[in-house]
Symmetry: C2
């Protein structure tokens, strides 16, 4: 049986005003789906024309219930913290991320939501992996609260399916880059470097630049979110990345090549929450979702730079 | 370098008034250690003569700080729920188990505690295991909130060691049996069957009796807790069980053989939180801790029956 197309569905994007959310909402709209977004704020309200916006706190179950009503698919993109800030208030991260997610899942059950798609963290749930690229079956030993919280939510999603039949998919996404990513909250190395370099300002980098990460263009992440929403396979968890590793120094060199100018950097001591290498194996998403990253790194970087230049840095 | 003997240390047993805690406190006392116990209540106060008792709620950080002061080793045996009750209030289990554990770990850091030993759940953290007996490296996919909570605490223990150097060991204990286990809170099949059979009452059993579990005598669990307190290996997580599986029907037959009388049972439908088979591989504990279960099942059952008879059922 062919799964129903996403274009015939009502979609709710939790965290729809953020980087990934803004990109996802815009794509869902063009695909013909009815799109609602829920969040604390919209950074790019003009870009979300046509999206039914529900303003609210994640802990506000009344607002959440109203946003979820009659939706088929719920994309859960809300993170209360970042890998850096989560360790500063571990209990707070549980209170603001995990506990409201349990309330969310209860509402989804009552509202007969057909699928929950959750963005987990490909860069933090595995911790210091022994096998590179990292398959989904690798041990999950996070060295940040952020990763523990994402992992705990994954476990509760599995429990809700087991106990109540609530269908879900998890995408463990690597480091996304692209338009609408702002360098807020110590996230988004490329956005940080670009926004500052374009304005002639230097960026503080933790470590010696040898840390290797997996960067994936936002359009490819959105492809994966859409595929996960209608996937009928037996898999539940998918790594989403490029499958290739790039060091911080590689990234700086690539930006300098594109900008044709040096990128000023201030080096600071490394952080204990940064694993040395994180590159995801993406074979499962290729095989099962039929997904593949279509935008290579340089092309993604160019599109991102174009967007920053259009904004005026 | 020889690790310091436990007998020269100050030990705190959180949950010291419960089944495992009472047994552990008594053994620690006989080994010469200074023993403090902390908990909401003591079921067997007379049996804890010589133990410095601190009454308190786990969430009471003032009481906890006072109990922890000048202790070398903290045994964390507190569980706010049971595998059955945890699913009834998932958020509550996070609030009452995980969040107070984070406060506990912060207090342990400040108090320079040398080792935290945590009892996790060998029967629930793995979920429906594909490999029997289950090694510590098996996937951890719990099908109860109880297991998710235990697993989340394990992850935070690893994080505290990574970030702050707080030393820890985790014991994933199978189903313990022995003196001082009461059939409260839908836990402890053997205690339940014994206490009721001795009084001629029947016991409600979920499922058809085919569910297989790994039963380990409490004295062996206490041996493992003591070994974990002074272990200097590179391992952090140890399964503690007998390594052998016994079905509910096996257990009933064994009790009938020992009592020389039928054990009346009422069969009820199975629960979705019960995995069909859970038997732990105990090779790691054998190899690394030099631990081995010394009391075979029948002998452990006899000692338990003797204890129940002395109580008058």
């Amino acid at each position: 049986m062919q799964p129903p197309a996403l274009s015939s569905m009502s979609c709710l994007v939790l965290g729809g005003g953020g980087f990934v959310g803004t990109n996802l909402c815009r794509r869902l709209l063009t695909s013909g789906a009815r799109v609602r977004a829920f969040g604390r704020s919209r950074t790019f309200a003009d870009e979300l024309a046509g999206v039914e916006w529900h303003q609210g706190e994640f802990e506000d179950t009344v607002a959440l219930t109203s946003a979820i009503a009659s939706c088929d698919v719920v994309f859960h993109l809300i993170a209360a913290t970042t890998p850096h800030s989560a360790n500063l208030d571990m209990a707070g991260d549980l209170r603001h991320s995990v506990i409201p997610t349990l309330a969310l899942l209860d509402i989804c059950r009552s509202a007969n939501v057909k699928r929950v798609v959750f963005i987990s963290s490909g860069g933090t749930v595995y911790g210091a992996a022994k096998e590179i690229p990292i398959p989904e079956t690798a041990p999950t030993d996070p060295i940040t609260t952020y990763g523990i919280v994402k992992l705990t939510i994954e476990k509760f999603l599995a429990l809700y399916e087991h106990l109540y039949g609530l269908s879900y998919r998890v995408l463990r996404v690597a480091n996304p880059l692209g338009p609408f990513q702002l360098p807020a909250k110590a996230q988004g190395l490329i956005a940080m470097l670009l926004s500052r370099a374009i304005n002639g300002r230097s960026t503080e980098i933790w470590g010696d630049g040898s840390v290797v990460r997996d960067y994936v263009f936002i359009d490819d992440v959105v492809d994966a979110l859409q595929a996960a929403a209608v996937d009928t396979s037996a898999e539940r968890i998918f790594n989403i990345g490029s499958g290739c590793g790039r060091s911080v120094r590689d990234i700086i060199a690539a930006i300098e090549a594109e900008l044709g100018a040096p990128v000023p950097v201030e080096w600071s001591p490394g952080r204990p929450i940064d694993v040395p290498v994180s590159v995801l194996s993406i074979e499962r998403a290729r095989d099962v979702l039929g997904w593949t990253p279509k935008t290579d790194f340089t092309e993604g970087l160019r599109q991102t730079i174009r967007w920053w230049r259009a904004r005026g840095g």
